[in-house]
């Protein structure tokens, strides 16, 4: 079978040093204004978005930022809208799969998934892209419920950035099929044979609004220096991590500063926002150019 080729002897010394003294190993790079993977301090990793990978989902996206991999799938259901009666609803759930890192299996349950769930939920709802009225089928009788499930398949830093990107990609690819509500209150596909008048009304499915897509950039602070788009290794060395979500229309939608007790300078804050805006342009381009395979 395949055998992984052993590392050359020259590399093994560096590998050993890295394992024994990760801090020192990293700071040596930092002092040179560079990072072990060759990036500059502000350089982000390439991102990719593939749509429609899950045929069973109503829409789906597999996204990567560097090694970090997240898959998002949307399932739609029809529910009776409660309050308000003319809006659909959203349920987000983020899970870290066992696949995502070597530590996952032995780790105790953490608050990471629920933190991510809450952040993604807030990002979606806070954006002007989210229009729950568009999910209404018939006020008071039927509306779409959107179930957005995200699975982190590979965790190598910036999980929030990846989850928000995956969520936006999946929601942007979502199409709502035209449906009718029958007298009996059942929802049927429009133009279905179940309709008695026998006429069909073929329509193009309509998408949710794409305006004001929120996207996130996470930066790490190590030795008072700002590192953009950190890997999981860099996140573990960081004193604190700042995630900035902007909507590409000049609004900051969220700013998370995680890392208890460490202060953040205004300069860093400003830097984070500027970097996030740049990153938004990048990611939005990737997002916009992604095409579902069938369309």
């Amino acid at each position: 079978m395949t055998a992984r080729v052993d590392s050359a002897p020259a590399d093994s010394q560096a590998e050993a040093f890295k394992r024994l003294y990760p801090d020192q190993y990293y700071r040596r790079f930092l002092s040179q204004n560079t990072r072990p993977d060759g990036r500059s301090l502000t350089q982000t990793r390439p991102a990719s978005v593939v749509l429609g990978v899950i045929t069973s989902a109503d829409s789906s996206a597999l996204i990567k930022i560097g090694n970090t991999t997240v898959i998002a799938g949307v399932k739609l259901e029809v529910l009776m809208p409660k309050d308000p009666p003319d809006q659909g609803c959203l349920q987000v759930n983020v899970e870290l799969t066992t696949l995502c890192s070597p530590e996952m299996r032995d780790n105790r349950p953490t608050e990471v998934p629920s933190f991510l769930t809450q952040q993604v939920d807030a990002a979606v709802r806070g954006s002007s892209a989210w229009q729950p009225q568009a999910l209404c089928i018939q006020a008071g009788r039927a509306a779409w419920a959107v179930y957005l499930d995200l699975y982190v398949l590979c965790a190598d830093g910036v999980l929030l950035d990846a989850c928000v990107l995956a969520a936006m990609a999946a929601l942007n690819a979502l199409r709502l099929a035209p449906v009718d509500v029958t007298d009996a209150g059942n929802v049927v596909a429009a133009g279905n044979d179940a309709m008695t008048d026998g006429t069909s009304h073929p329509q193009q499915p309509y998408a949710l609004s794409k305006q004001g897509t929120p996207l996130t950039l996470t930066c790490a602070v190590i030795d008072d220096r700002l590192i953009a788009d950190p890997s999981s290794e860099e996140e573990s060395l960081a004193a604190t991590v700042v995630s900035t979500t902007v909507d590409g229309q000049g609004h900051v939608m969220g700013l998370q500063h995680a890392g208890g007790g460490v202060e953040l300078s205004t300069a860093h804050l400003q830097q984070c926002i500027t970097a996030a805006q740049d990153r938004h342009t990048d990611l939005f381009r990737v997002l916009s150019s992604a095409q579902p395979p069938d369309h």
């Binding site: 045929t55 069973s56 989902a57 109503d58 739609l76 259901e77 029809v78 099929a177 449906v179 007298d183 059942n186 929802v187 049927v188 596909a189 133009g191 279905n192 044979d193 008695t196 008048d197 069909s200 073929p202 193009q204 069938d294």
Partner: protein, 959 residues
């Protein structure tokens, strides 16, 4: 041979669940013709020498099956998209189409166009599924057209104007079925088989061809309301939904959940084209329009001058005065109503929610032309259905001369508001009217009885013969070896499917053990097998006078399951312990191995009981059982069980001609009642234990308490003779029946019981989970619980009961299907239908044989009057089990009503001639002359004529 596959994904939005299925396209799909070198010769079906190939669209495949089935139609390409659409719309049409494509002697080829790389298409934006499918068929036709050499034209058959036009635009040779049939000069009868179109364009065509002959025909019926209006109307309570039950073509009844009383629908116009079995929506008429009692159905049909109306009047098709054989449970409720005062709610049909037109067709015969009417060369004919509850059906045929003396099958294609009768078309000929085999085919068709041989898959479930009980059976700890018991069976002569056997013996403790042993059919009939499915569909064995149509394959019915004498057989046994006084002290069930020592007929068993010199174990046992049965019977009667009577006749058949030589009342002996009593006991016991173990899924049999009004006809005639019948409970009724005696008239009581029997409703199978406990009761037997356990060879209900009992005893798990309430309801509903159909078929077979018996024979017989009407009396002839009307005022030659010569006293149930010479009262004895009247082209009917009783030979006198 896997080719490189391209695939497209098909997304189906069914409801709101997204379903994604893969759909592979292939390049190895055969075209089925040797003209295509790439087609696999092993699957080729189309002929190289055909004059053309046909491609049918979906509507042709759905509605023109009789045409397609004709042997002159060959080399037909059926696309898979057509098959799929037909399957969705009509399962039975699909089966017929599949039979055609599977037949090795027909050249029908299935082209899998939906998986062919070159013929698969996706819907265009805005294209409806129907349009897409129509286009797919045209694409497939075009594919053949381009692939075939010019010498092989491909003809596209469609009756849809739009499809026809588009096909022609695509360069296809397209034509309607009608057009094609007319083109086939070689087979002129094809035109008959074309189903009448009921589409708008057909109407246009018709009016075009008729030219100036009046643009629009007069409307006879109200338009049916649109579905949405009906749904809304039902919701608002102005319309009511129910299944129409029609006794005659012009009158129906409806039970609606939304109404307390049954409603009547009288007259053709009110029925508004609804047929028996249709699910309809009705609107109640204002009370002042209810016509109430006794009156003849008013002829509401407008435009009495039309030709069609005249036709029917002449045929007397709606008359109900013809002779009918009446048997238990069956009773002419229309008559009951007609005679019972009081008005019932009346309604009219406003829409038809679900049609129940039979795809198997209706048996009937052409209506002969009236005397003096010259219809030579006519192509439009009315078919008079055998069953009076269906209307006449108009068909187009050019073979009227050949069909006039035949029974034919027709199907209904549609019924327009401007047509008095439904449109249909001829399907096939059954044979000459009156011929025994033909008429047997008729009664099998009318009662939907499947006489097809069992499929190979069913036969595969039958153990090979010779079969014998094996060591494994004897070693099975769940099975007791009861071969030592003195078991015997008692059945009618010639019985081969022996379901039950009996024994009785003394126990060491001084008590007695009584055993009922039932064939262990479920040991062989396993749930979920092809044989089980088939048995559930057939539901019951059907017994005709000279023929038995089995529920299970013959080796099981007559050998492996049958509890024959002197061979080891598997049984399910019920064993009771009785004290010498007949008190039950114990009861148990077990699977067993038995060895019956004798298979007696009722007569043989009776002879052994009666002959005191017979002291062998079996004879002694029969005597003890008989004594015990009598005791039980008396106890049941005391508890209110009804002793009903139903006239049954038996035929003596000429072994050479297979025609009946003599008819006689079936003799009921003590032994019949003894076996019946034992079976009742077993059934009741099994009903109790299975219900206790499975309160929600026991299969029981209930006999609903009849509504008091059902007894009105009985009470009316009884009252005329001074006998009052109390129907407040089955006990009261039973006592009244016992008390209904007249000095010197032994048969009077039987007659009353026969009439009482006719007031009963049918007993029904049901699943205990579906009814309230109060509805479990079996009225006739005065039993709180009842079921059928004792005839699993010939009744599927008993099979289900065996399975539940086995689960009760932990012998086998309860099949999951018994817990599926909806699935079980469907099975049980079918059993009730099959049971009823089997009874009707059996009765129709008796009726047929009676008719044959009286053919070319004039018989005098003693009869009793059962009802008095204004122009005659209805009599029952015990000897032959027939009932019919004696017309005292025959219709005049010209059909006009004769002057009234008789007066009727309804109260006293007496009819008197004006001159006072003759007075006939219900229950009077009269003599009748029975003979067959032959009408046009073999149409025969039984005629009864009043005779003076002096002319009756002494031998025919009844006490």
């Amino acid at each position: 041979m896997l080719q490189r596959k391209q695939f497209v994904k098909k997304t189906k939005k069914g409801g709101v669940v997204k379903v994604v299925r893969e759909h592979y396209l292939r390049d190895d799909i055969s075209s089925g013709t040797p003209l295509d070198p790439e087609s696999d010769p092993a699957v080729n079906k189309l002929s190289r020498d055909a004059s053309h190939y046909l491609v049918a669209d979906t509507n042709v495949a759905l509605h023109q099956l009789d045409f397609l089935e004709h042997s002159a139609i060959e080399d037909v390409i059926i696309t898979s998209v057509v098959l799929e659409e037909v399957r969705h719309q009509n399962q039975s049409a699909y089966q017929r189409l599949r039979t055609l494509t599977a037949a090795s002697d027909r050249r029908f080829f299935v082209f899998s166009n939906e998986h062919h790389r070159d013929t698969y298409i996706t819907a265009l934006p805005g294209e409806s599924p129907n349009d897409r499918n129509d286009r797919a068929i045209r694409v497939a036709a075009k594919w053949y057209d381009t692939r075939m050499p010019p010498s092989m034209p491909v003809i596209f058959l469609t009756n849809d104007a739009d499809n026809l036009r588009k096909a022609q635009e695509d360069g296809l040779r397209a034509m309607t079925v009608q057009g094609y049939a007319q083109m086939r000069k070689d087979t002129p009868e094809l035109v008959d088989l074309v189903a009448a179109g009921v589409t708008a364009e057909k109407e246009n065509l018709a009016s075009d061809s008729q030219g100036g002959k009046g643009a629009k025909r007069k409307r006879i019926y109200e338009d049916h309301r649109p579905t949405a209006a009906i749904t809304a109307g039902i919701k608002r309570g102005i319309y009511h939904q129910g299944t129409l039950r029609a006794g005659r073509a012009q009158e129906g009844r409806l039970v609606c959940d939304s109404l307390a009383d049954e409603v009547l629908i009288r007259g053709r116009v009110a029925l508004n084209r609804a047929l028996d079995g249709d699910v309809v929506a009705v609107e109640l008429l204002p009370e002042e329009e209810w016509t109430g009692d006794g009156q003849k159905t008013p002829r509401q049909a407008p435009s009495p001058g039309t030709e069609e109306n005249g036709d029917e009047a002449a045929a007397g098709g709606d008359g109900d005065d013809n002779q009918v054989q009446v048997a238990p449970g069956e009773h002419l409720e229309d008559d009951a109503w007609a005679s019972t005062g009081g008005k019932r709610p009346q309604a009219k049909v406003v829409g038809i929610i679900k049609r129940n037109w039979r795809s198997r067709g209706y048996a009937g015969s052409l209506q002969p032309p009236r005397e003096g009417q010259n219809r030579a060369g006519a192509t439009s004919w009315l078919v008079v259905p055998v069953e009076k509850r269906f209307p006449f059906i108009r068909i187009q045929t050019r073979q009227a001369d050949a069909l006039m003396d035949k029974r034919i099958v027709v199907v209904i294609d549609g019924w327009e508001a401007d047509s008095m009768f439904p449109q249909g078309h001829y399907v096939r000929t059954l044979g000459v009217i009156g011929d025994k085999d033909t008429e047997t085919e008729v009664l099998l068709l009318e009662n939907d009885i499947n006489t097809a041989p069992f499929s190979p898959a069913v036969h595969a479930c039958v153990p090979p013969l010779p079969w014998a009980v094996s060591e494994a059976h004897l070693q099975d700890p769940r099975r007791e070896d009861l071969r030592g018991l003195p078991i015997c069976s008692v059945d009618p002569p010639g019985c081969k499917d022996i379901d039950d056997a009996l024994h009785i013996r003394d126990l060491p403790n001084g008590n007695m053990e009584l055993g009922v042993h039932i064939a262990d059919v479920t040991n062989f009939l396993l749930p979920g097998t092809a044989m089980d499915d088939e048995a559930a569909r057939r539901g019951t064995t059907v017994y005709l006078v000279q023929r038995r149509i089995d529920m299970l394959p013959k080796p099981l019915t007559e050998d492996i399951c049958s509890l024959r004498a002197n061979v080891d057989r598997l049984a399910f046994s019920v064993l009771w312990e009785l004290t010498l006084d007949g008190e039950l002290v114990g009861c148990r069930f077990t699977k067993s191995v038995i060895r019956s020592r004798a298979a007696f007929t009722y007569a043989e068993a009776q002879a052994r009981i009666d002959d005191a010199r017979m002291t062998d174990e079996l004879s002694e046992g029969l005597r003890k059982m008989n004594a015990y049965a009598k005791k039980r019977r008396a106890a049941r009667a005391a508890a209110g069980a009804l002793q009903l009577a139903s006239p049954e006749v038996k035929f003596e058949i000429d072994t050479e001609t297979q025609n009946p030589m003599d008819v006689a009342m079936y003799q009921i002996r003590d032994t019949n009642q003894m076996v019946e009593e034992m079976m009742l006991m077993a059934n009741v016991t099994v009903a109790e234990v299975t219900l206790r173990a499975f309160p929600a899924c026991a299969l029981l049999r209930r006999h609903p308490v009849p509504a008091p009004r059902q007894f009105e006809p009985l009470q009316q005639v009884a009252a005329a003779t001074g006998v009052s019948i109390d129907v407040s409970s089955s006990k009261a009724l039973s006592d009244s029946l016992d008390g209904a005696v007249r000095m010197g008239d032994a048969y009077f009581n039987t007659l009353i019981r026969i009439l009482a029997t006719r007031c009963m409703t049918q007993a029904l199978y049901f699943n205990s989970g579906q009814h309230a406990e109060s509805e479990y009761v079996h009225y006739g037997l005065a039993a709180p619980l009842y079921t059928h356990f004792t005839s699993p060879i010939r009744r599927y209900a008993d099979v289900l009961v065996h399975r539940v009992l086995a689960a009760t005893l932990d012998l086998a798990p309860l099949p999951p299907s018994m817990r599926d309430a909806a699935g079980l309801k469907a099975v049980v509903d079918n059993l009730n239908v099959r049971h009823r159909n089997a009874q009707m078929a059996g009765r129709a077979s008796v009726e047929l044989h009676t008719l044959i018996f009286f053919h070319e024979r004039i018989v005098l017989a003693d009869a009793r009057i059962t009802k008095v009407r204004s122009k005659g009396v209805i009599v029952f002839i015990p000897k032959y089990g027939i009932e019919g009307t004696i017309h005292l005022t025959p219709k005049a030659e010209d059909g006009s009503e004769p002057p009234a010569e008789y007066t009727m006293d309804e109260q006293k149930q007496t009819i008197r001639h004006c001159d006072g010479q003759l007075a006939l009262t219900v229950f009077d004895k009269v003599a009748v002359k029975i003979q067959i009247v032959t009408g046009v082209a073999h149409r025969r009917s039984l005629s009864l004529e009043w005779m003076s009783r002096d002319e009756l030979p002494e031998s025919e006198h009844m006490e």
